[in-house]
């Protein structure tokens, strides 16, 4: 039933290819950290992401307008000293709206990424460790979800989630964002299963859940951290796409997606309605994915095409 061949995963615990000239052995954490520090991509990403988060938190303070304020004297104005990003045709301040939308999109992204990684870790570890019918069933579900584009499932499920609050969207996005990483974790767990320390634990009578929690998951944690980081950008992309077409965040709430949807009709004539939120969105996702990519290179410098 498997759609693809098992993805061979380099063993992150195995020897590090770099020779470190130091009297003391360097811990793996310090090694990854030092590799990260020398990656310019990491710095670009982390500074970008930090700026965006700080801006989302404090950005409204210097602005004279709130997201719900209507400036009836300046409707449809282009960017001015009064309205930094211009106003919409009913006088909403686009700068304030962008920040409120960004907050929502960031919260969704920052929660969905780690949540999906946790699901991927647990499901992948159970499939790889328990094996047998559990494994078959889980792989089957994963393959099925890889064949059905998840965007279509989101749209199909949207009537249910529209009636709930936007928090439900977080669980929906996380619930369909774990498949690819779960396959990787599963392959990794299968090789861990035969390692001596896990065998020892098993023969000492430690129960399955404890082995998965104490021995398997910590050994795949670097993969999960990478997945959580890369998942942030992916989740923001899914959320904005859904919201853009009206299937995600609903009216009283604002996200970058709904903002872009309302700016879309005027995109050619009054580009500030569209271009500013779009630029912020691309910058946010770009920063998150640069951090994730640098992290992946740092954890496993030999990592190649077989990831993600």
């Amino acid at each position: 039933m498997s759609m693809l061949d098992e993805i061979p995963v380099a063993d992150p615990a195995a020897g590090n290819p770099e020779v470190i000239q130091s009297p003391k052995p360097v811990s793996r954490f310090r090694l990854v950290l030092s590799r990260l520090r020398s990656t310019p991509r990491f710095w670009v990403g982390i500074i970008g992401l930090g700026t965006i988060v700080l801006w989302a938190i404090f950005g409204l303070a210097p602005n004279a307008w709130n997201a719900s304020d209507l400036d009836t004297f300046n409707m449809g104005s282009s960017p001015t000293a009064l309205h930094w990003f211009g106003t919409s045709d009913i006088g909403e301040d686009i700068y304030a709206q962008t920040i409120v939308g960004l907050r929502k999109s960031l919260i969704i992204g920052l929660l969905v990424g780690p949540l999906a990684a946790i699901i991927a870790g647990v499901v992948g570890a159970v499939a790889g460790y328990v094996g047998g019918w559990w494994d078959k069933a889980i792989v089957w579900v994963i393959d099925l979800l890889l064949v059905l584009p998840s965007l279509f499932l989101f749209i199909l499920l949207s009537p249910i989630f529209k009636s709930l609050s936007w928090v439900a969207l977080i669980f929906l996005l996380a619930g369909f964002g774990w498949m690819i990483m779960a396959r990787v974790i599963r392959a990794q767990t299968k090789s861990l299963r035969e390692r001596d320390f896990i065998k020892a634990a098993r023969f000492m009578g430690v129960d399955t859940w404890t082995i998965i929690r104490r021995h398997v998951l910590p050994n795949v944690s670097s993969l999960l951290i990478i997945d959580a980081t890369l998942g942030v950008g992916g989740a923001i992309l899914s959320e904005t796409t859904l919201s853009f077409f009206g299937f995600g965040i609903q009216a009283p709430d604002v996200s970058l997606g709904t903002l872009l949807a309302s700016g879309q009709s005027a995109a050619a004539t009054r580009p500030w309605l569209f271009v500013f939120p779009a630029a912020i969105l691309v910058f946010t996702v770009l920063s998150a994915s640069l951090v994730g990519d640098a992290l992946r290179d740092a954890v496993d410098p030999t990592s190649g095409v077989n990831r993600e």
């Binding site: 064949v147 059905l148 965007l151 749209i155 949207s158 796409t241 879309q264 779009a278 640069l290 990592s303």
Partner: protein, 327 residues
């Protein structure tokens, strides 16, 4: 080799069939086809609604397994996918729309694959040089852009270009100009002009993804001993790279291609919606908003068949590139 491909094909076929059936079940439980009639004024009687729904084969009073069975039997015996809520057959709706989507998908995917592979190889060969860095950051930026934003940005650019030139050089709304008179040739050019921006949009997204993967696959290969051997035999650098490097680096790419095709389909659906094309993507989204179970399943079946074809093709490429499979 034939055995390998047949095996993979059967694997994909089963997967596609199960995906379609699950889509039918899921749509039947979530969508409420009666809701469309209940909101009408004057409200049709319950018997009328019931008979309409039974006629479509989507009556919620019939057990869902029974409806699924009827649907499957109809498909196998008559080749029919049922009727849409607008009383046209799903098959006729699909034949009207499939060409639109396929034109975009085939062109977009082929251009994306060629450009992506070429850029990826170039980036790997020139690793850490300026061109590599520029390509890397450009593809990261495109990957960070949702497809609807990319489409609309292209439209803004095209509008600016049209304004500067003073003529309507690039058309981008819809699939063709409505009411355009002229011969076959005029029609052809009109459609080609409309195809330009959506294809660029789709190809950019695809090429950005492929180039990242091709670059890392190529980097893995470049450090391999057999490249050095080929060079020491007296092959030129270019020949060694192409004959021994690119060919090997394409093997994992063929797998990734099958993997990513579902994403391409979703991206194409979004692109269609943005450029207001009446293709399969639009049909799928409309089917969900109008609670049309039969049309939804038809659209999912279309996607599943495309994934089946793409998966099998990528296995054929895989077998052609990797001699170990053929043994």
């Amino acid at each position: 080799m034939i055995g390998f491909i047949v095996k993979r094909f059967i694997n994909y076929a089963i997967l596609s069939a199960i995906a379609t059936l699950s889509a039918y079940l899921l749509a039947s439980t979530i969508l409420n086809p009666a809701g469309r009639y209940l909101g009408r004024n004057p409200r049709p009687s319950d018997e009328t609604i019931n008979s309409i729904l039974t006629g479509l084969g989507v009556n919620p009073h019939t057990p869902v397994i029974e409806r699924l069975w009827t649907w499957v039997v109809n498909l196998v015996t008559h080749g029919s996918l049922g009727d849409t809520i607008h009383n046209t057959t799903v098959v006729s709706e699909m034949t009207a729309r499939a060409g639109t989507s396929l034109r975009l998908l085939i062109l977009g995917t082929i251009i994306a694959a060629i450009v992506g592979v070429a850029i990826g190889v170039w980036g790997a060969v020139r690793q850490y040089k300026f061109s590599d860095q520029a390509i890397s950051y450009a593809s990261f930026t495109i990957l960070a852009t949702p497809s609807f934003v990319l489409g609309i940005l292209l439209m803004i650019l095209a509008t600016l270009l049209n304004n500067v030139l003073g003529v309507q050089l690039i058309n981008f709304t819809g699939e063709y100009t409505a009411g355009l008179d002229g011969g076959w040739w005029v029609q052809f050019w009109d459609r080609a002009a409309h195809l330009l921006l959506p294809t660029i949009s789709l190809a950019l997204m695809g090429a950005a993804g492929y180039s990242r993967y091709q670059r890392s696959a190529m980097l893995d290969v470049l450090s391999a001993d057999y490249i050095r051997t080929a060079r020491s035999k007296g092959r030129t650098r270019g020949s060694a790279l192409v004959r021994h490097g690119v060919r090997v680096a394409l093997i994992p790419m063929s797998t990734y291609f099958a993997y990513s095709f579902a994403t391409v389909l979703a991206g194409a659906a979004v692109t269609e919606l943005v450029f207001s094309w009446h293709g399969m993507g639009e049909m799928l989204v409309n089917a969900i908003t109008q609670s049309d179970i039969n049309a939804f399943t038809g659209a999912v079946l279309f996607n599943a068949v495309l994934i089946l074809i793409a998966g099998t093709l990528s296995d054929v490429v895989y077998a052609a590139l990797d001699p170990r499979v053929r043994v």
